[in-house]
Amino acid sequence: SQTIHQWPATLVQPVGSPLSLECTVEGTSNPNLYWYRQAAGRGLQLLFYSVGIGQISSEVPQNLSASRPQDRQFILSSKKLLLSDSGFYLCAWSVLGSGFNLPLHFGNGTRLTVT
């Protein structure tokens, strides 16, 4: 069966420090991969998605970047964190080319607090 792992679960980082959040998927090949941010009162915001290794689409201009070095690995990064980067970050996957049959499968999320 497919599983998705996201870590760390919580993270407290000072302003200006770098960030690296990792997500891996097991039990499937060539998944679509996503990074979302869930903010109170703002719902779910898609940050990045990837349909293959090295292919990253950015949805909103921001202080963050994403990379997909391997088929089932998706990394969210920042060189210098801002206070506004605080939030709950969710990784998700769906079947490649699933189109109208997709559901998204979410990880447990990372609570990031920038101090």
Partner: protein, 109 residues
């Protein structure tokens, strides 16, 4: 513009009462709609998708194209239904899910 609206931030009902979580969408194409749920300390997960026309945990949702709605309903709410519910629209032309802001359902004993 593609948009999903969940007008209620918080919905509070008593156990055994009927519950309806509202979702309205704006999309010019043929919509594909989902309900996701997030229970306390659990991951966000799919509850329903309209193409399945199924009932999950007693919940149903019918797509009403005339009213552009996809309301989630359950005739008798249970305490374990307390959770955050998100309605989402799949905009097929750019392969993205458009999310509502969510409704927090509290079922009181």
């Amino acid at each position: 513009a593609q948009r999903v609206t969940q007008p209620e931030k918080l919905l509070s009902v008593f156990k055994g009462a009927p519950v309806e979580l509202k979702c309205n969408y704006s999309y010019s194409g043929s919509p594909e709609l989902f309900w996701y749920v997030q229970y306390s300390r659990q991951r966000l997960q799919l509850l329903l998708r309209h193409i399945s026309r199924e009932s999950i945990k007693g919940f149903t949702a019918d797509l009403n194209k005339g009213e552009t709605s996809f309301h989630l309903k359950k005739p008798f709410a249970q305490e374990e239904d307390s959770a955050m519910y998100y309605c989402a629209l799949f905009a097929g032309n750019n392969r993205k899910l458009i999310w509502g802001l969510g409704t927090s359902l509290a079922v009181n004993p």
